[in-house]
């Protein structure tokens, strides 16, 4: 393994580090995969060529926020929440991540501050950063969620290929429906309405 550059502060993972994901209960006719490594289709933020990346969060709420924040200004859609599952897993074969929560790291490798907030099509800066991190032998990227006010963090964990790597790098400790207390605590924190499915509630009558 190549050593990380001296000016790159790594984030060490322990085998007890726990990560959380929200994933679809069913996806395209098959059960959703708890430990799913994105292979570039769809395009994900820290993809690297010919490999896979699993996206997870440091907390249940953080995982929920990452999935639902793009739909929730009017409220949290409870119908969709019911279609998703929560899993928590233990890291077993990953060691050090490139740590974007350390400000010093944002300016190494000539990439700069724009990385932390990148929203450009196909994430060119993030992809370049992931590729460099991988070439240094790092196992992923650790960063702070942009929209999270509580310091929760996210993980992009590298694997040799895309797909399901359960029990290889991540051990599933538990999974099931998204707990009500997660939904309620995120709703309270971000002051969000809970929206039952409209078919059962939205009442305006036709004239």
């Amino acid at each position: 393994m190549t050593s990380p550059p001296r000016d790159l502060v790594p984030f060490p993972l322990k085998n007890t580090t726990r990560v959380h994901r929200i994933y679809p209960r069913m996806y395209k006719g098959r059960p959703g995969k708890p430990a799913w490594y994105c292979d570039g289709d769809p395009v994900c933020r820290f993809d690297t060529p010919g490999s896979g990346t699993c996206y997870a969060a440091s907390s249940r709420e953080g995982a929920f926020i990452e999935v639902f924040r793009r739909f929730w200004d009017a409220g949290i859609p409870l119908g969709t929440v019911a279609q998703m599952s929560h899993v928590y897993m233990r890291v077993i074969d990953l060691h050090q991540l490139a740590d974007l929560t350390d400000n010093a790291n944002l300016n190494v490798m000539g990439i700069g501050d724009a990385l932390a907030l990148e929203v450009d099509k196909n994430y060119p800066l993030s992809h370049a950063f992931a590729q460099v991190a991988r070439s240094y032998g790092l196992d992923g990227v650790h960063w702070t969620s942009v929209r999270d006010r509580s310091g929760r963090t996210n993980f992009a964990l590298f694997a040799d290929a895309g797909g399901d790597y359960e029990d290889i790098r991540l051990i599933v400790d538990g999974k099931g429906p998204i707990p009500d207390d997660v939904v309620n605590s995120v709703a309270a924190e971000f002051r969000l309405e809970l929206l039952p499915p409209p078919r059962g509630s939205y009442p305006v009558r036709s004239t």
Partner: protein, 178 residues
Amino acid sequence: MDSEEGLVTAFTEAIQRRFDTMQYLKAHRKDADASAVAQIAQDAAALATSNLSWHLALGASTTASALASELDVPVQFVIEKVQNGRLVGLHGRHETFLPLWQFLPGQPDKEPTGVVTEVLNVFVEELGEAFAPELVVLWAATGQPELNGREPRAAVEEEAYTEKLIWSARCAVAGLTQ
């Protein structure tokens, strides 16, 4: 009119009218447990405000029946287009609503504009059987980072945002598919 004031006024009047006219409620008005009454009222208030949120997320809309009548097609034709992700809509309890931002201004049609069609394709193709029409409505009413925090429904008329809208839809849907 202020929405909060409107809800409170209409809710109070509706409750009073029911207690005035419903025999059973009238006869038993002092029999209910106070904490249960409070909980029932809180549930009703949550339902009212969630419905108001759906209403706000939809914005200016037409209904499936009004659009069908205008285009001289069966109502079911419009409803199925919403269900299949060919039109943006929200299946409510009594009607299907279609936000007007998906059409050219003042021209509700059988098809949405080109960029809205492309966005719908992203949702339908990526989500498969998990596609739910209301997800498009909620996404469109939520500020997105790819659009500098703007709501997609406010950007659909601007050609400069076409690619960003489609990219933003891809990013949003990715979280529901992995």
